[in-house]
Symmetry: C2
Subunit: 249 residues, 2 copies
Amino acid sequence: MSEPQDRASGIQVIDRAVCLMQALARYPHPVSLKILAAECGLHASTAHRILATLALHHWVDKPSEGYALGSALVRLAARARPAPRWREIALPILAELCEALGESVNLTVREGDEVVYVERSVPNRMMRVEQVIGTRAPLHVTSVGKILLGAEGATAISRYAERTGLLPLTKNTIRQTEALIDACLTAAHTGFAFDNEEAEIGVGCIGVLVRDADGVPVAGLSISSPIERRQDHWVTHLQAAAKKIEARL
Amino acid sequence: MSEPQDRASGIQVIDRAVCLMQALARYPHPVSLKILAAECGLHASTAHRILATLALHHWVDKPSEGYALGSALVRLAARARPAPRWREIALPILAELCEALGESVNLTVREGDEVVYVERSVPNRMMRVEQVIGTRAPLHVTSVGKILLGAEGATAISRYAERTGLLPLTKNTIRQTEALIDACLTAAHTGFAFDNEEAEIGVGCIGVLVRDADGVPVAGLSISSPIERRQDHWVTHLQAAAKKIEARL
DNA sequence: AAAATCGTTTTCACAATATGAAATTATCAA
DNA sequence: TTGATAATTTCATATTGTGAAAACGATTTT
């Protein structure tokens, strides 16, 4: 399938190990060494050595035929960020709002300099905006991301800008640090933000935050629609939905 | 804490990466680089490089302070062996049996040449046998393991013996391949097996299998007790409990 | 304000380490 | 049996990860 995979340059062996496990995750059950090696562009010998090491730690299992993801992962994942069960908590509310407005509603969480789509509800219309769950987007091109950035203050935003280079996804993506600071600070102040075709031409978003009992932001809630359908008064709906989600945390 | 960690010899970097993530899993929330490096006996520089690579793939997260297990793990683990939710399925039945007999009842699943304890219920008595969940034991020293081995036939058992060397845990552990084949074949034939202080002096077990709708063994169910309290008629209780679990799969 | 302290990150020369071609073994078909 | 395919193991090699030390950044102390 995909040969190059993510060529993220870290420690070579680890990149390769990750690639192998991701490949494993793509298949329903057991995969042969041959296939795995091919998927990651590795020689069978190399793949075998890496998989054998992972198997040693039970990160992969070696049933009679081929390889599969191992049980140690389950134990690890259990300890990984005790994420709220968003599906149970938020999905009904996303669906409700989606139904009411006839537009896509997304729940996102921050992760480093990105925002990850964890749940969504899409309307039953021909033209609609659809986010794939698990997808990521840089903070500065999303509504929710701007509110989050705004909360960190001007200097933090500058650092973000330097660090990431503010790479533009469309001609509307904010490129100047000054402009970004402006946008983020007002976003943080008002509690909501827009995305004006900054991530993809044609789509616009409105976003607000979901906070836990201590007021710490734990997620973002946003409506994505064709830009010409967007209506400013949706903000109040969003805020109400966010309140409902907060109540269920 | 523990310096040497598991010195399983595979690819060095991977061993180290695994060690770091295991260390991470031990802590409730975010851990500093310093501590992680120390726990695994690594230099800060090395630990940093490895963690940075893992972070690249979101296997660890880097919140403002320290490191934590990343979100990619949950996505991976979701694809890992679609294990039945044993806790929900079996725990009530384990508890019931445990209550009735006043002895510890364990649920195990096979993993390679080992059996892993995944659930258990312990009685409220002073002297009792307690298995730690997540612990492993070689097939040939457990009741359940012997039934599983028996199902594979004499030659497979011989291969198992060669492969593992039948390392003895107590003076009662079966050391001869012939004896093991005998024990396993009768175990497979009768559907239950014993462990006579083969894993630990003083404790005895009786075990049976739990099978899915196709008759494939998916787990083992066993009673562990001080050897002198063990009663042969417990087998029938075990079989009844196994039936109940099977009904709930 | 400087100065000092502590943790994290980057750099870099070096050798230990992971690599992959090829040889070996295991598995399975014809 | 032979032949073909996949999984391991071996081994010489240079590529790769290593760790000491230095730079950096954030806090605290003087």
